[in-house]
């Protein structure tokens, strides 16, 4: 599928100081900018080939925007997005011209959250799944049909379904269609934007399994965006936590879940309701609401809700720093705090 690179790049994707500020406009005839929503504010992380990076955070934290900035669905305000393309080599996606971008996008694909709005209801599966192949001149005619049939089979749908329209499918099946479309061009990187959030519990597991199987089979790299920490823990190798546009912590999954270094990560982990009635621990309940990204607080954005807040946190915004190998935190007190992570559960689920 992919030619062996002579020089093995350590990262498939490297994000440096990515920012996206949406202007807030006001005014009647002549509108003027009265402020900015800092949807993504100075975010840096990397993904190695073949791994899955989880991106978690609460609604409005900028995780979806980050995913779309990488795909260049929007242009970033500033920052670099280095992608190691199998044909073009290492390029900064943020600075690409239209034509090169088209090339790059063949190697980066997006899976959407909503399996209903992401499929054109007026197209058959053949047209939907075949579109990337067709518009990029990869296949047409009967070859296109064969390719689509193969793709449908890969995601667990019958090739005969190719003549059907999306309305004939359930949410889980539609999500499979979305996956098939994303895989059509053999991308290197797939950005999964909450791919299982809209699905029923019983269908979630099927879809997660499918994504994992495909990763193995096609050597895919995932950026897995989700608000569900259990899902992220299950699927990710490393995890990035975001809060109000900022990256607060980035570490290997186990490290982050068992040994968090940021009070927000700790609170987040603690808040997840554990599916075990014998583990009824009182969670760390954060006070107040998530900060408004248009009017964020001074210093560390998390300080008004943080139980370890000191004067410095109110004045000075913490920088992201590596406090242990590959464990990045942006907290002034990361070194001194001992935070509770997830208690290790018995490796088995309650016996059937």
């Amino acid at each position: 599928m992919r030619p062996e690179n002579s020089v093995a790049a350590p990262y498939l994707l490297e994000i440096k100081n990515l920012k996206k500020h949406f202007p807030i406009e006001k005014g009647f005839i002549i509108s003027r900018v009265i402020g900015h929503v800092k949807a993504v504010d100075d975010v840096s992380f990397f993904i190695r080939p073949g791994e899955t990076l989880g991106l978690v955070g609460e609604s409005g934290c900028g995780k979806t925007t980050t995913g779309r900035l990488i795909m260049r669905a929007y242009d970033s305000t500033s920052g670099e997005i280095w992608f190691d393309d199998c044909r073009m080599g290492r390029v900064n996606v943020a600075g690409l011209e239209k034509k090169q971008l088209r090339q790059i996008r063949m190697n980066m694909q997006l899976i959407f959250q909503d399996p209903y709005s992401s499929l054109n209801p007026r197209m058959t599966l053949l047209q939907i799944v075949g579109e990337p192949l067709l518009v990029n001149g990869v296949a047409r005619g009967s070859e296109l049909q064969d390719r689509v049939a193969e793709l449908l089979r890969v995601v667990g749908l019958r090739p005969e379904y190719m003549v059907r329209y999306p309305h004939a499918f359930s949410g889980g099946q539609r999500q499979r269609i979305g996956v098939a479309r994303a895989l059509a061009l053999h991308p290197q990187l797939v950005v999964c934007d909450e791919p299982v959030s809209a699905l029923d519990v019983s269908v979630q597991a099927q879809t997660l399994n499918l994504l994992q199987d495909l990763q193995k089979d096609f050597n895919l790299t995932y950026l897995f965006i989700s608000h569900d920490l259990s899902v992220v823990e299950h699927i990710s190798d490393r995890v990035v936590v975001m809060y109000v546009g900022k990256l607060v912590e980035h570490a290997r999954t186990e490290e982050l879940f068992y040994n968090p270094k940021h009070p927000y990560t700790e609170a987040l982990l603690s808040a997840v309701p554990k599916p075990d009635p014998r583990l009824r621990t009182a969670p760390i309940v954060l006070q107040g609401d998530v900060a408004d990204p248009a009017h964020p607080p001074s210093g560390c954005y998390f300080h008004p809700r943080c139980r370890f807040c000191i004067e410095r946190c109110k004045m000075e915004a913490p920088q992201l720093r590596e406090i242990a190998p590959e464990h990045y935190v942006s907290c002034h007190r990361a070194d001194e705090l001992t935070l509770a992570g997830v208690t290790k559960l018995a490796a088995t689920a309650p016996a059937p």
Partner: protein, 346 residues
């Protein structure tokens, strides 16, 4: 749970929707029981009828739907206003299923004895009325208070649910509040007349996880303080494990298994419950990289043509050929307080 002291008993409830496209048997023979001052968790996937069952109790089933048969026995504790319900001695049993959905009787129960919190705090509050107006309304309706007293009560209630600056918030409109604050307002409204039963229909599904934790701990606190029962409807097994005393699992309009929360999580019997338990990723249960989850094959069938026999049989890994696809499994009592609808336990 105190079995001798039931608050609500639902027996063989059937609520159907008669639509142009056909009849949807949203609730098709459900049995539920809820004791005083306890929490019943109702868990199930979309379309399993859990919300419709809740609305049947309140007699507010959406257009096209109605209760076809069954009983909803509500043990109405008669006590002087202001005294603790738990101390009342007299009770009156009302079959809510028999009441006229628009009659006086059910309306005197709605909002006063039984109240409800909905999933979407944004759309569940009227966008054009202030919070105070909407809370005060239910107070003055059921407690016959004048507007000023009702307002004071509403402020006190907002304070009680941890709303910051209740005196100012009361004159706010829902869109001026955050999601968590709106849900607090909804809860204040639901609890303002000290109901004996609170039905919470996915109250935290639309909220973020940290807000969810706030609301869940608030509900627990209020339950202790006010001494009410909660019927907690959700699809989230984690929330159920944290909140419920007893759990009923619903699938396609039927309660397939009901047990105490510990039994259900540690000794589930129904294949559907077992599969659900195994299919969710658990925090802290990470095993080797790339390990697969157990999953339930297929998807929830179309409500217009349900499978014959056991509704779960097409997806069931343990189905018995020629049995499960023919006969409807009976509700079996396998243990004290543990019921399951599956032929495997006959």
């Amino acid at each position: 749970m105190n079995e001798s002291n039931p608050l609500l008993q639902i027996k063989d409830l059937k609520t159907y929707f008669f639509l142009d496209e056909g009849t949807v048997k949203a609730v098709d023979g459900a049995d539920l029981e809820l004791g005083t001052c306890s929490t019943l968790g109702v868990v199930g996937e979309s379309g399993c009828g859990k919300s419709v069952a809740a609305r049947s109790i309140m007699q507010i089933v959406a257009k096209g739907g109605r209760i076809v048969s069954g009983e909803i026995l509500f043990h109405h504790q008669l006590c002087k206003p202001g005294t603790d319900r738990r101390l009342s001695e007299k009770e009156e049993v009302i079959d809510l299923a028999m009441l006229d959905p628009q009659g006086d009787k059910i309306r005197s129960i709605r909002g006063a004895e039984i109240s409800m919190v909905f999933q979407e705090p944004m759309t569940s509050l009227s966008p054009v009325h202030t919070i105070g107006n909407q809370i005060g309304e239910v107070i003055s309706l059921h407690q016959k208070l004048d507007p000023k007293q009702a307002r004071e009560k509403a402020i006190a209630m907002l304070d009680h649910v941890g709303m910051p600056l209740p005196k100012r918030t009361i004159d706010r409109y829902p869109h001026e509040l955050s999601g968590g604050m709106r849900q607090r307002a909804m809860i204040a409204m639901a609890l303002s007349c000290h109901p004996s039963l609170l039905i919470a229909d996915e109250p935290t599904t639309a909220l973020d996880v940290t807000t969810e934790a706030q609301i869940l701990s608030l509900m627990r606190k209020l339950q202790d303080e006010l001494g009410m029962s909660i019927m907690f409807i959700t699809h989230n097994l984690g929330v159920i494990a944290q909140m419920a005393d007893r759990v009923a699992v619903m699938y396609l309009g039927k309660v397939v298994e009901a047990a105490s929360v510990d039994t259900l999580f540690y000794k589930p019997l129904h294949p559907y419950t077992q599969a659900l338990m195994e299919s969710i990723p658990r925090l802290g249960a990470k095993k080797r990289r790339g390990e697969r989850l157990a999953s339930i094959r297929g998807s929830v069938p179309d409500p217009y043509n349900l499978p014959k026999g056991c509704p779960f049989h097409p997806r069931c890994a343990k189905r018995v050929p020629n049995v499960c696809d023919r006969e409807e499994p009976p509700n079996l009592k396998v243990d004290q307080g543990h019921e399951v609808r599956c032929v495997l336990y006959k």
